[in-house]
Symmetry: C2
DNA sequence: GAAAACATGTAACCGGTTACATGATTCT
DNA sequence: AGAATCATGTAACCGGTTACATGTTTTC
């Protein structure tokens, strides 16, 4: 149900089409939650049929049209209710650490490559997340700017602070993963010397 | 395919039944990779049909019997091949951080509860992972003891070191998550004062 | 005129979860 | 005798991935 609530959270800002939402998933929210268009369109239909959002056909060019979705009061209630419900944590399932536990079965060079990729992966995420923090600091995030327009000024602080808090958490996670893999590289070197 | 390889990794130690494997998933490996019995039994059947393992019916009591699986050479080759293949990283999908980004929508007390549960969740994992490290240090892990018996003494170091490395990574992750959620609690307090 | 972007889906598949179902053995 | 453990599955469902499919509009 997280996709559904990620969509609701975006629609609290302004009405959007499936494609608009897909684009936001590709950029901002996508750094916390990924969803392909093939998942977004059917989910929007379901949400409309359940009354969480309403769709309006909007003319687009001469012949084209697109469907713009607006969140309903039920949708807002649903989102708030999700936000107030404690999260169920899934059992651990971590391929990178599973493989790491048996790295003595890999060729040393493959083991090193594994660690290098782990570093590269989290460095790329680190960069993206750091960029989002920079955007928050400089006020250059357009989704946030739109959101603040419909937010009472007294709540601006909280709105920005929680996003910053989120990305800071992801940044420190990425940093920890990079450090871990670097220790892994040293370990592989030590074992093969 | 990680379940399959987790099963193969365990079967490199000794032949086991589905139930044996299920028990190991409930204890040791389960702290890195979780799998329910309803997933293990069918997967073992598939693996047998693909020649990665062979099953032998073993008498159990008077009337009962159980099926014990032995890894084949193809199974060992498959596992090594997986170990030498770089991991594909899945796109980010992180419910806890997704929710954190919109915590201004939650009631302050629900937000605090969220953070407290995050702390409790990772403290419980931290304890489990720390226990595994203690076991490695004291040599009281029976799966590892069995594994070492069939491992050349010169490779003992690597076998233990990679497991320790894995759990240390998980421990620092858990510590980072706890610190993050504690900052979250402080932030909620600050915003509501 | 062509390419890029906008727009919206369907279908097959895959891994994982939850619930259901059954029966034997061993321990106390 | 009863409880706990050992033992092995099936079935419905759910969320997500990948591939396929199509057409319009805007930009260069």
């Amino acid at each position: 149900m997280s996709l559904r609530n990620a969509l609701l959270s975006l629609l609290t800002v302004e009405p959007m089409t499936g494609y608009d939402l897909y684009k936001v998933f590709e950029s901002s929210v996508g750094h916390v939650w990924h969803a392909p268009d093939s998942q977004i369109y059917p989910e929007l239909k379901r949400m409309e049929s359940e009354g969480l959002i309403t769709g309006q056909d909007v003319q687009w060019g001469q012949r084209g049209k697109k469907r713009q979705y607006t969140i309903t009061n039920e949708g807002i209630a649903e989102f708030k209710s999700w936000m107030n419900t404690p999260l169920e944590y899934a059992r651990t399932r971590d391929p990178a650490h599973l493989k790491a536990a048996y790295l003595e079965w890999a060729d040393p060079e493959a083991a090193r490559e594994q660690m290098r990729r782990h570093i590269a992966h989290y460095q790329s995420l680190l960069k993206q997340w750091q960029e989002r923090i920079d955007e928050l600091e400089q006020g250059t995030n357009s989704m946030l700017a739109k959101r603040l327009k419909s937010t009472p000024r007294k709540d601006w602080d909280a709105t920005i602070a929680f996003k910053r808090f989120t990305y800071e958490g992801l940044v420190s996670r990425a940093e920890a993963e990079i450090q871990w893999a670097e220790r892994g590289l040293q370990l592989i070197d030590r074992l093969n010397s």
